[in-house]
């Protein structure tokens, strides 16, 4: 029997490079690809290095593929990325929400589009260098997503949208190792990427200045409006709601005499609602656009640990089913800055139960 083929997304970084080596060791026929999704136009951006999908990533990934002797292709995913990630990103901000583009990219680009391409090419699996584990749960017969052995590098938060079909065709070989072990393997097999820093930030906004990006890349106008308190009293003028996110304290541009935080963004009235520290806390949220992994659908009253943003700690909560496509999540203790547009992801120990987008 011929060996099983796997299409591996390669960024040129240490994780996906070592993933290639591990897959080869496991006997897979590995075809390396880099999804080219974004192209910076200005010179300044060209000079900067970071981002998982920049041109320097292509050079690095190609070098690694050559070293490992695997075929390597650059795939043009610019259109789909633009449609499903950037357009979504922009729309959400203008709706007064704070999107997570990495979740959208994983869902629509790295999984759906890449898997479609792999399947069309007669390739059985796709693989990435994510720190997460995929396995078949014999009890339920479902594919489950588990945190990697190192909690510190866990990347499951951005992967809760994967479907059963996608998970059944997904390999995440680095999930069984710690970051230190991965760097160690990289050194052993002589991959020069071992010292590259981890990629961070949003790949299509080099300077991390969302406001500038939105004003330069959107047809919609960013209109200044009023800061108000939770009772509706006007406190001052803001630069446009896209510049703010719930929980934000810095960069409001006005001194209020006491610490003030963004409590809510009211897109309809173009208002930014401010409050004191207490008012940023809440113990309830509703979520929609749900996806469940370890279970088929949520059970009313089920207990989970819920995480409300990538950097947040998990907190114990109860799920209330309200209608078919919506749930309420009630936390045992109030959570800081529950932000519409971000995702809430549910865990049961180290297993991803599922998640949804916060309303």
């Amino acid at each position: 029997m011929s060996s099983r083929k796997v299409m591996l997304g390669m960024s040129g970084g240490v994780d996906s490079s070592v993933a290639a080596a591990i897959l080869l060791q496991q006997g897979y026929e590995v075809i390396g690809v880099t999804l080219q999704i974004w192209q910076d136009m200005d010179e300044e951006a060209k000079k900067s290095e970071g981002g998982c999908c920049s041109l320097s990533a292509v050079d690095d990934a190609r070098r690694v593929a050559n070293k490992l002797g695997i075929p390597y292709y650059v795939l043009n995913f610019k259109d789909i990325f633009n449609k499903t990630v950037i357009e979504y990103f922009k729309e959400e901000y203008f709706k007064g929400r704070t999107p997570n583009p990495c979740i959208a990219c994983n869902r629509h680009v790295k999984w759906q589009a890449m898997l479609d391409k792999a399947v069309a090419m007669g390739i059985d699996y796709i693989a990435t260098g994510h720190y997460a584990k995929v396995m078949l749960d014999p009890a339920s017969g479902r594919y489950i997503l588990k945190k990697s052995v190192t909690d510190k590098k866990d990347q499951t938060y951005a992967l809760y949208n994967l479907t059963q079909e996608q998970l059944g065709r997904t390999l995440m070989p680095v999930g069984d190792y710690s970051k230190e072990q991965i760097r160690e393997i990289a050194k052993e097999i002589g991959l020069s990427v071992a010292t590259k820093p981890d990629s961070q930030e949003i790949c299509f906004i080099n300077d991390n200045d969302y406001g500038r990006f939105l004003s330069e890349n959107s047809d919609k106008k960013i209109v200044p409006g009023k800061f108000v308190d939770t009772k509706g009293n006007v406190l001052g003028t803001h630069k446009g709601i896209v510049h703010y996110t719930v929980g934000q304290r810095k960069g409001l541009g006005i001194a209020f005499g006491k610490p003030m935080f963004v409590v809510a963004l009211d897109a309809e009235n173009n208002r930014v609602v401010l409050g004191d520290d207490n008012e940023v806390f809440s113990d309830t949220l509703t979520a929609s656009d749900l996806n469940f992994i370890s279970i088929e659908k949520p059970v009313d009253g089920m207990r989970v640990n819920a995480k409300i943003r990538y950097s947040a700690k998990e907190a114990p909560a109860t799920i209330r089913v309200i209608g078919g496509q919506k749930i309420r999540v009630v936390f045992d203790t109030p959570q800081r800055a529950i932000t519409p547009g971000q995702s809430v992801v549910f865990y049961n120990d180290d297993v991803v139960v599922g998640g949804g987008t916060i309303d």
Binding site: Q36, N76, K78, D79, A120, M121, G122
Partner: protein, 393 residues
Amino acid sequence: MGNRVIYLDHAATTYVKPEVFETMKPYFCEQFGNASSIYTLGRESKKAVEEAREKVARALGAQAREIYFTGSGSEADNWAIKGIASANKKKGNHIITSAIEHPAIMNSCKYLESEGFEVTYLPVDSDGVVSLEDLKKAVKDTTILISIMFANNEIGTIQPITEIGAFAREKGIYFHTDAVQAIGNVAIDVEKMNIDLLSLSSHKFYGPKGVGALYVRKGVKISSFIHGGAQERGKRASTENLPGIIGLGKAIELAVENMDAYNKKLMDLREQTIEGLMARIPYIRLNGHRTNRLPGNVNISFQYIEGESLLLMLDMIGVCGSSGSACSSGSLDPSHVLMAIGLPHEIAHGSLRLTFGEENTQEDVDFLLEEIPKIVSKLRDMSPLYEAIKNKK
């Protein structure tokens, strides 16, 4: 599947013919003298360079002193555009070119625009042909250069060079043509065609990479491109790339000698491929002029699939082709040439270019006609758009 490789990207580059390589060999280790040196070893080199220059001149119907060796076709293009602009800026600042030029011309023009020159990019019709009427309308008192490519690298369309040349001559405007794809495929006579400047590149006609040439008609005012020593009449300093130049000379000699037979063979493979694919696969279109095209060029758009997927799958069965959306080169946008002939974005993305060459055979064509329809139908089965079209019927 065997390990058979079918190379169908001769417009990208060709291998070096063994007989070309043989003529180059002595000039690496033995006959290495600097062509500018006075002693015998140097004089021998000089003699070989001048013989190569003669060969290039003969191939174009030019005189040897009108041929300048360069490091590449792109360099020749850059030199032609920038060198004419700089030497003639007192006469005017307007340049006319087409919307489907090679990036070497395109980006040289863009650069000149940033330096205050004015550039008109002539549109092309759906076959990729520049209209003489448009050209006539675009000319101004300030026009100093018309640069129109001889034959397009992507869609293969051959331009009405003789007519353009005659018009430019009548108006007293310099006429440059990027003939990188045309050499060895189309008969060229710079006298009859009224060409003032012409770029060519050795590795497109079975010569080595890293060497090209610019023909500059005697009397044309052009600035030096590389300032330094007296090589290439002081216009393009650099110690001569001796083996490269000698390889270019041999390659162009062979290309012109064998042109008729070569063209006939390529045209036969091309026609079989075009006809065969058109007959076997629905929803496809040929890009470029149906007949007035490079003998080895096939460029086809397949609706409802991406050229990229097609290329990858062809690569997996050993077929080397190219696409209008190749992005390893760093560009993610569909080809400017396919957009210029009016293809919608999504169809431009589903394009495949196959360019035949000397070593291709009937078996290659048979294999393509067998495999491409299978791959296309497999890819279309994945496409929701194609699904919708099928269901409608």
